[in-house]
């Protein structure tokens, strides 16, 4: 530790840190722009000026930049020294020479770091009397607005976009005070992390375009802590609502997960919540295709209760529904009548959980992934399935550069110096996948193959690590050399990491990931593992158990079922349409509980509209096995959309059964049902949690229009809705300090109106939220189980499919939003050029394709990165059929 003095006060600090970080951690309001907690220091803006003294007798001192100054032992600094105060005010004055005074019409106003810093430095009188420079703005696509005149040239945008996230199409052009941050030409920003520019930019240059199109000031947004529902990473988010619409989603810092950044699917995927076509009230239908009639909530619950009471009823849960909702359905219908919402994925999720639980690998958090010094990706296209993980892997390869910097005594926060020393030297990353991935450019080597082939390579790695394990016969010499190389790298690494998942549909690959970890453990290494399931609550659903969809269909097809209750699940995405259509004709009553209008809902005899994620509370289990609670943001207007589990509670009550009346009661019952789920109660404080007798307000202390926003309909001030499920209140009154980390509805602190106020909620920059990062890990890995058997060999079948994924399109909920839809590709099929030539097909042609009794039209894409003979098809995309693992497709004719 080092002893330093700031304004005469003594502090014990880590000498490896820079003064700015340390000052912020000590609660000192020191303004800054170009420094970013996740991106380090570059010394560009000159805003964080302080005075440094040689020793205790030096009264003059010299001005230094806190972000570039290490906290060496016996350093003496003054934030309040006149020279530093003058410098900080002057830097703002200089920035303001070109910054427009358009705060009243700027989306950033009220949450603007530049505003905060301006006030903080005391600059308030304009001496610059000349014209300001102006720029032309660009159309950057559906996500990001661009207003370059506001730019203060802190360089954070290009540093994030290019250096941190690997994007290439945003850059800085020009020089002196004409520097321009944008694209070479107008066009959509290509990076899947472009939305972070909104938060990275300290002012209103890069703004959230959908938010801007239906704008509300930060202080007028009602917010509640939430968890992203668009993949299994479980990034923490802060949705903001006004007038019954989600206006935007912002990052909610989680030290072990998303940190400071989200992917664009997570940031813009909320728009389906605002879809006018969502069901608003319960409806009944006498027969499929007949017109709907509205039902009261009571009538609807009574109708469902009657069908359940009549027996011969089964339920299908969902990996995108909360633990509580799945649990409620299972309890209501009985475990033997409860089926998991997936087919292939169910077995894979169970397998993955058993691998995680058996150990010996530690389960990697996103933060752990960033710090891994050798990474093997087995089959996953992370940028498309779990983009935030891909961003973390991108950081992991910097470990080599950090080691070089450490050796040269260059501090790790000295970002450009570390990158200079590293140049293109990355720590090892190996990507094994069916098709090229967005991480290939960072990989030491890539290998392509069907999942079956990748599993063989993985087996060769296992054999190399542990010669007692069988070889993978028949693989070629190049592949064998690669296996040797990977095995050597993993053994040599201090923090080796294996990343796998269920996206290929291959159990063999998951088992291979486990076997590599076991083999590394036997070599006295401590590997980490991350296994990514398909959906936001895949692991929660798997923990609850239940047979898979094939079993459910078998019962329906056997005529054993009169009533089918489907919870938040569009089965047409899970099952081939012909089989599902046939099964639906075999039942009397289809009950669909969902937030969305889906093709399945069109068949429903009873449709119960459910809350979307922002309209309900619940618990999800992410890829780490971390249970996380998300909270209701707002109560929908003019719609009866209770949480899906509340429909089930209400139905249970009609039947004289007790599923409780609140979330806490349901969560507690779910936790009590299985020791593996016992921890979920602690994911967040319960509804009776109070701070000095007060609830936590969802509305900021400056929330305006409370009494006026409904005046067009009713001049009386409405009674605020009561929340029986959480300690949060639909109110602007309540406790604002000392909040539990899982229940922070807004990041705000006196003098810090922007998201940069986050440092006030941390003890350490980049560390956990004060009080610990939210959520509870449910899985404690064991000492390691036995090896899985060697994967079976299989021959390539002509035009055997492998699943590909699209960040924008493969996930059901996000794909329904207008902004995401603009980024979605049209349906396609990918073939190797040789395969296409053999079939006489040309790149870009549209064809009719057929498989498993279904036919669809899609464009042919030719990609030499794909292995010969197989076909890549994007899974879950609108316009694409639902096919089984490894289905064989054929060309049925020319396209329209």
């Amino acid at each position: 530790m080092a002893r330093i003095w700031i304004d005469g006060r003594e502090y014990e600090v880590d000498p490896r840190r820079n003064l700015l970080e340390v000052a912020l951690e000590q609660g000192i309001d020191l303004p800054y722009f170009c420094w970013h907690p996740a991106m380090g220091s570059v010394g560009a803006c000159r805003q964080c000026a302080v005075t440094q003294f040689r020793d205790e007798n030096d009264t003059q001192g010299r001005v230094v930049m806190a972000c570039m100054t290490p906290c060496a032992d016996n350093s003496r600094f003054a934030v309040e020294h006149a020279d530093a105060v003058e410098m900080r005010e002057a830097v703002i004055e200089l920035l303001m020479t070109n910054h427009p005074h358009d705060c009243p019409v700027c989306e950033e106003g009220g949450q603007c770091h530049l505003q905060d810093m301006t006030v903080m430095t005391g600059h308030n009188y304009r001496r610059y009397r000349y014209t300001k420079r102006t720029h032309r703005n660009q159309d950057l696509g559906p996500f990001i607005g661009h207003e370059m005149n506001r730019c203060i040239a802190c360089y954070r945008c290009v540093r994030f976009y290019r250096e941190y996230a690997g994007g290439t199409d945003l850059n800085v052009f020009g020089a002196h005070n004409h520097v321009y941050f944008g694209r070479e030409a107008d066009g959509t920003l290509e990076s899947p992390f472009s939305g972070n520019l909104v938060e990275v930019c300290p002012t209103g240059v890069f703004t959230d375009k959908p938010y801007g199109e239906s704008y509300t000031r930060k202080w007028d947004l009602q917010q509640a802590p939430s968890v992203c529902h668009h993949c299994a990473v479980g990034c923490n988010i802060l949705p903001g609502e006004r007038y019954g619409r989600i206006k935007r989603v912002e990052n909610r810092y989680h030290g072990a997960l998303n940190g400071y950044f989200l992917c664009d699917r997570g940031r813009y995927g909320y728009q389906y919540v605002n879809d006018e076509a969502r069901p608003r009230e319960a409806t009944g239908r006498s027969a499929p295709g007949a017109s709907e009639h509205a039902l009261s909530a009571d009538k609807a619950a009574q109708g469902l209760a009657a069908w359940i009471d009549a027996g011969r009823v089964i339920g299908i849960g969902s990996p995108r529904a909360s633990l509580e909702a799945n649990y409620a359905l299972r309890e209501l219908l009985g475990a033997s009548n409860f089926y998991r919402g997936t087919r292939e994925d169910a077995a894979l999720d169970t397998l993955a959980l058993s691998i995680l639980a058996a150990g010996p690998a530690r389960i990697a958090s996103v933060r752990d992934i960033e710090q891994a010094d050798a990474v093997l990706v087995l089959g996953e296209d992370l940028l498309q399935t779990s983009a935030r993980i891909a961003l973390a892997v991108r950081q992991s390869v910097r470990q080599r550069g950090f080691a070089l910097a450490d050796a040269a005594h260059v501090p790790r926060w000295q970002d450009h110096s570390v990158r200079l020393m590293a140049q293109t030297q990355n720590s090892p990353l190996y990507v094994l996948s069916a098709a090229p991935t967005g991480l290939d450019e960072l990989a030491r080597r890539c290998h392509r193959g069907r999942p079956e082939d990748l599993a063989q390579l993985a087996q060769a790695i296992v054999h190399q690590l542990d010669h007692a394990q069988p070889r993978a016969p028949g693989i070629d010499d190049d592949t064998l050399h690669l296996a040797h190389e990977i095995a050597e790298v993993l053994v040599a690494a201090e923090r080796p990491l294996i990343i796998g998942g269920s996206s290929t549909g291959s159990a063999a690959l998951l088992q291979a990931a486990a076997n590599i970890c076991i083999a590394l453990h036997r070599r006295q290494r401590s590997p980490s593992i991350a296994l990514l399931p398909a959906e936001c609550n895949s692991y929660g659903s798997a923990l609850l158990g239940g047979d898979d969809l094939d079993a459910a269909l078998a019962r329906i097809e056997a005529g054993e079922v009169d009533t089918l209750v489907v919870l938040e699940n569009n089965l047409y995405r899970r099952l081939p349409a012909p089989r599902l259509d046939a099964a639906l004709t075999r039942i009397q009553h289809l009950v669909v509980i969902d937030a969305l209008a889906t093709p399945l809902g069109a068949h429903a005899h009873l449709q119960l509209p459910a809350a979307a994620f922002a309209e309900a509370d619940g618990t999800l289990v992410n890829f780490e096995g971390r249970a996380q609670r998300y909270f209701q943001v707002f109560v929908p207007q003019d719609a009866q959309r209770p949480a899906s589990w509340r429909w089930l509670q209400r139905t249970a009550a009609v039947l004289g059964r007790d599923l409780g009346n609140t979330l806490d009661e349901l969560t507690a019952a779910c936790a009590a049902s299985d020791p593996a789920l016992a921890g979920i109660v602690a994911a967040a404080p319960g509804h009776d949690f109070r701070i000095a007798g007060q609830r936590i307000p969802r509305q900021p202390h400056r929330y305006s229009g409370r009494t006026a926003m409904n005046a067009a309909r009713d001049i009386h001030e409405p009674q605020p809705p009561q929340d029986v499920d959480s300690p949060l209140a639909f109110s602007m009154e309540g406790a604002r300090v000392g909040l539990p980390p899982a229940e922070i509805p807004i990041f705000w602190a006196p003098r810090w109106n922007s998201g940069q106020s986050l440092s006030k909620f941390q003890d350490e920059i980049n560390g956990p939220l004060r009080g610990g990062d939210p959520g509870v890990r449910l899985i404690e890995p064991g000492q390691g189980g036995a090896y899985f058997d060697r994967p079976p060999r299989s021959e390539v079948r002509p035009l055997q499919t492998v699943w590909l994924y699209e960040l924008f399109g493969s996930e059901e909920l996000s794909a329904r939003g207008a902004a995401i839809a603009e980024r979605m590709p049209q349906p396609y099929v990918v073939l190797h050029p040789d395969t296409a030539a053999e079939l006489g097909l040309a790149d870009g042609d549209r064809h009719q394709w057929a498989a498993e009794g279904q036919q669809w039209e899609a464009q042919l894409r030719v990609d030499p990165g794909l292995p010969v003979g197989i076909a890549g098809i994007p899974r879950g995309m609108p316009g694409m059929p639902t096919l089984g693992v490894g289905a064989v497709i054929g060309v049925a004719g020319a396209g329209a």
Partner: protein
């Protein structure tokens, strides 16, 4: 090998014949060329560095850092990185400075010889010349000279049978003043934006492409063959024996402005300003008086007629309150409007800011515009204080690199020596206040 010739008094320009093509290789060698290299290759690399150190050679680019010390910072020995670089900074864009151009156009082989010796001393197998884009003739002659050296195996593998390999590449700049700052130069050479780097790490440990690198000025390198050939004592004596200066060797001095014969001359280090202006530049033009001068390019502080007897070396110019800089004077006479000159200088500096740090990027354009008001006679009285504040806020330590502090030097010294010019320019059009 040719016989040792009598040591020249003006080594840098001895072979330069104005209005003539430079010597080709054969003539160059006949006039003592490559004697330094031959001598160096017989010494250990560290001995070459030691020799340069003891000669007292200081960087001629402006900062005056001892060249031998700079070379000595490069890691040597078996544990040192295999790839190292030596880079010649020929991005001579300092207003009023044209000495490197003279050296490259007049005697490119001398420079190449210095470069090879420098590469040998630090163990660099690759050298780059980063040349100002407008120096078309210099580029042409340098290319021809490099080709000739390659043909004669003075560049490439196993130079003169020594086992030392050295390749030299010419890179012509895209034209930014900031590339004269060595780390911005390195970024530019790597194909990145010409933005300075933060130090540490210094180029000697992590420079071009992250490898140990020395960046030397063209003139600095031109001194090296002579030091190795004739020795450190001879070199120190060039100045100590004439002007008594502690800084060794000769220097290319020059003068621009309204002197009778603007030009560039090689003189012993420590020659007085008066001698340069009166004897070599022929004094002021008829009817004009010297009012002040920038001693070493646009980014140095004004000195005045009182300082004419100051010897032009690093120590004495610093004592007088300015910097030696490039050593090429810009002379201000009593008829040229100071405000116009300052505005012109700040226009240049504002335009050449790389845009990285705030004080420079946004402070220089503001300064320029205030000065434009002074030039036009519409400045306000409060603008004088505003300018003073800018000189403080754009000064050393406040900015990322020395660009803006350099830009403030003529302004701060003008405020100091010529305050009446500023007050006289306030509110002539009645807009003062």
């Amino acid at each position: 090998m040719t016989a040792r010739q009598s040591p020249p008094q003006r080594p840098l320009t001895a072979r330069i014949r104005p209005e003539h093509e430079p010597f080709g290789l054969a003539d160059y060698e006949r006039h003592g060329g490559f004697q330094g290299l031959r001598a160096a290759l017989k010494m250990g690399p560290q001995d070459v560095t030691g020799l340069v150190k003891s000669a007292g050679l200081r960087g001629r680019g402006g900062a005056g850092f001892p060249t031998g010390v700079k070379w000595g910072l490069v890691p040597m020995g078996p544990d040192a990185p295999k790839q190292k670089y030596i880079v010649a900074n020929g991005d001579e864009m300092e207003p009023g400075t044209f000495k490197d151009r003279l050296l490259l156009e007049g005697d490119p082989l001398q420079f190449i010889e210095g470069m090879i010796i420098g590469g040998y001393a630090i163990g660099a197998s690759i050298g780059y010349v980063f040349l100002r884009a407008e120096y078309v003739l210099a580029a042409e002659r340098l290319k021809a000279a490099i080709a000739e050296c390659h043909a004669r195996k003075l560049l490439g593998r196993n130079i003169l049978g020594s086992g030392f390999d050295f390749d030299l590449y010419l890179h012509t700049s895209a034209g930014r003043y900031i590339c004269g700052e060595e780390t911005a130069l390195l970024n530019s050479l790597e194909g990145k934006r010409a933005v300075p780097r933060s130090k540490p790490p210094f180029p000697a440990t992590a420079g071009l492409f992250g490898k140990p690198t020395v960046v030397n000025n063209i003139e600095t390198l031109c001194n090296v063959p002579h030091i190795v050939h004739y020795g450190a004592d001879w070199y120190a004596e060039l100045s100590s024996g004439t002007t008594g200066s502690k800084d060794g060797g000769t220097k290319l001095y020059g003068a621009s402005g309204k002197v009778k014969h603007p030009g560039c001359w090689e003189l012993p280090m420590g020659t007085t300003v008066r001698e340069i202006v009166d004897d070599h530049a022929g004094g002021m033009r008829e009817g004009l008086k010297l009012r002040g001068f920038l001693p070493g390019g646009a980014s140095t502080d004004f000195l005045t007629a009182e300082h004419l007897d100051v010897p032009m070396d690093y120590e004495h110019i610093a004592q007088a309150g300015s910097r030696m800089g490039t050593g090429l004077l810009i002379v201000l006479d009593d008829r040229t409007p100071l405000m116009a000159m300052l505005r012109n200088l700040e226009t240049f500096f504002a335009r050449e800011s790389c845009g990285w740090c705030t004080p420079c990027r946004d402070g220089l354009p503001w300064t320029e515009r205030i000065l434009a008001d002074f030039e036009a006679g519409r400045a306000r009285a409060s603008d004088i204080e505003l300018l003073r504040q800018q000189t403080r806020l754009l000064g050393p330590g406040r900015t990322f690199c020395p660009h803006a502090p350099g830009a403030m030097e003529p302004l701060q010294s003008a405020l100091k020596y010529f305050p009446d010019d500023f007050s006289a320019a306030v509110g002539r059009d009645g807009a003062g206040g």
